[in-house]
């Protein structure tokens, strides 16, 4: 108790001095172009350090409150600068509010919708826990300690179809962290997922093992920068991330690792999303699409959108995407998460199409996300009964519009992806490609064409 008292007093003393330091930073005008920069950077760093101390529930409360205050501050500034009175601004705001209210009303006015929303909430929570608690589920030692990888993979697959996917992602993360004492100090590490114990990894585990690998790299590296860091420092950290991925991923699976950077940045460092996206374009243009796909995937799991029906992430993706490439990839990433998390209850997807089908039908990215999720799912769990059930599902034929949307956006593309695209991508070891938005039919045709050309040349 004495130590706790001392720590509490030290903390209060540090906070008092922090206040005076920030006052001095503001008065000093160290940066004439942006006088608040130094103080804002200090606030950011301490806020991040505080967040790291939160448990899940308090973190969720923080994120929800933070997202709300950011929106309100934007509105206040837009009102003060009269931007909020522009007709386009007013119409966008009213349409957002209208759409949201309609969605909320839909969930809480029908017993069936409420049941599906509850089921979706349970799915989200289950996935969140599977990834977070994979170490204890697989009896892995404390962070950074070595373990038997093949035994852990066996245990992950013993969890059965669906949990295995998320457990393998967590396992990839934990396995990469056993090398952290080396790469964390800047030493060049090679072959984490190609050599040593990983050489014997079954092919089916590779996509999510790579997603976990990227998660571990991103988690440790992104803490080194803030939105106020110098551009060269941000580029340096991103370069380190890209080099780590290239040195340690298998050919054709890099995309799965790049995508995790977007997921982690949006989830834990939301203020840095646009900065990292922009700088990534300078460091590794090929990784940009994957990054935005991961950002989209994160929206599904953000606490503010965690409870289905209260707030929808779809308008947020449209509002927050800084450019078309980001928007397409974010939409595909969000569709990816929606499809795979709820794959065991296709009725949830049908209900989603009933209300938001028209909105997602505006872009080919939604179907692409669903196809990618199913390809990844069937690759991780060959012969997955849930995916088979999802593809065989027949929506209520009385609702012709929804049935048509299901067939066009989910059913037909899903079957095509699982039965035709997946075998080609697996054969060419290009499964990392499904972690970004692209025309999969074109990619498959190109890969097939290359094979035919090679045969002709031979």
């Amino acid at each position: 108790m004495l130590e706790l008292t001392k720590s509490a007093i030290s903390y209060s003393w540090a906070m008092s001095l922090f206040g005076s330091q920030q006052l001095a930073n503001l008065v000093a005008f160290a940066d004439r172009r942006d006088p608040t920069r130094r103080a804002a950077a200090a606030f950011y760093s301490v806020t991040q350090a505080t967040q790291n101390q939160f448990d899940d529930l308090v973190f969720a409360g923080f994120q929800i409150g933070d997202e709300v205050q950011r929106g309100l501050v934007d509105l206040a500034f837009d009102t003060l600068t009269l931007r909020a009175f522009a007709p386009s601004y007013v119409s966008r705001l009213t349409s957002d509010i209208g759409e949201q209210s309609r969605d909320t009303l839909r969930v809480f006015t029908s017993a069936e919708n409420a049941r599906l929303a509850w089921q979706e909430l349970k799915n989200n929570y289950e996935v969140f826990n599977l990834v977070k608690n994979s170490s204890s589920l697989l009896n892995l030692p404390a962070e950074g300690k070595d373990f038997d990888l093949s035994e852990a993979i066996r245990k992950a697959y013993e969890l059965g179809g669906y949990p295995d996917l998320w457990a393998v992602e967590g396992l990839g993360h934990d396995y990469a962290l056993t090398f952290f004492p080396l790469w964390g100090k800047g030493q060049r590490v090679r072959g984490i997922l190609t050599d040593g114990q990983a050489a014997a990894l079954p092919d089916k585990s590779l996509t999510m093992m790579h997603a976990g690998l990227g998660l571990a790299f991103a988690e440790k590296l992104i803490d080194r920068i803030t939105p106020y860091s110098r551009a060269s420092d941000i580029r340096g950290v991103l370069q380190e991330f890209v080099t780590l991925v290239k040195d340690n991923a298998r050919n054709g699976y890099e995309g799965a690792a790049y995508e995790s950077l977007g997921l982690l940045t949006r989830f834990w460092h939301s203020q840095m999303v646009n900065i990292v996206g922009e700088r990534m374009g300078e460091v590794e243009p090929a990784a940009v699409s994957y990054f935005w796909h991961g950002v989209g995937r994160a929206y599904y799991f953000l606490p503010i959108y965690f409870v289905p029906g209260l707030l929808s992430p779809w308008p947020a993706v449209e509002r927050d995407a800084p450019h078309e490439l980001a928007w397409l990839n974010m939409t595909a990433g969000l569709a990816w998460a929606t499809a795979i998390v709820n794959v065991r209850q296709p009725k949830i997807m049908e209900n989603f199409l009933k209300t938001q089908g028209e909105q997602v039908d505006r872009s080919p990215a939604f179907s692409d996300g669903v196809m990618s999720a199913l390809i990844m799912g069937i690759d991780i769990t060959p012969g997955d009964v849930y995916i088979a059930g999802f593809l065989q599902y027949t929506p209520d034929s009385r609702d012709k519009k929804t049935a048509e949307l299901w067939n066009r956006l989910v059913g037909r593309p899903g079957s095509l992806a699982v039965n035709h695209y997946h075998p080609v991508l697996r054969k060419h070891r290009r499964l990392g490609e499904v972690f970004r938005y692209q025309d999969l039919s074109e990619l498959v045709a190109r890969l097939d064409g290359e094979r035919r050309a090679a045969r002709v040349a031979a």
Binding site: L4, S7, A24, V46, F54, G61
Partner: protein, 137 residues
């Protein structure tokens, strides 16, 4: 300014929730102490040298004072050596803080002076370049 306002609100919101978190952490005091220490360390990372020394001086003082208070019950507080050491430590730390403070102010003044001098030099050079015109014979 918009981002700065958001940063301040985020910070205040995080601090409020940290209070809530620490209340639940009280059930395991070691965890609570660790959380305070982590935040204190992160906050110290934002200090200038002068402020760091000031923080260390105050921190050492409060820790010794707490030890002495507890020492009342164990008889440790009656040990004159302990009092002497505490007083000398406090004096040393304070002197350090003052020295660093003075150094800081001096370097700022020197910097300002050199900036002024270079501005003056530039002005002189400009004047030389322009010249004063032909001398009357």
């Amino acid at each position: 300014m918009r981002e700065f306002t958001k940063s301040i609100f985020s910070f205040s919101w995080a601090m409020s929730l940290f209070g809530v978190q620490q209340t639940t952490n009280l059930l395991s005091p070691a965890k609570a102490a660790k959380a305070f220490d982590s935040l204190t360390e992160a906050t110290q990372g934002q200090f200038t040298d002068v402020l760091k020394t000031t923080f260390n001086a105050g921190d050492k003082l409060q820790r010794s004072a707490l030890d002495m208070t507890l020492g009342m019950f164990t008889g440790e507080a009656l040990n004159p050596n302990k009092w002497m050491r505490m007083a000398s430590d406090a004096a040393k730390q304070s002197a350090d803080a003052v020295t660093k403070g003075v150094q800081g102010v001096t370097s700022t003044v020197q910097q300002a002076a050199s900036t002024t001098a270079s501005v003056a030099d530039n002005a002189t050079t400009q004047a030389e370049r322009q010249g004063w015109g032909p001398m009357p014979s």
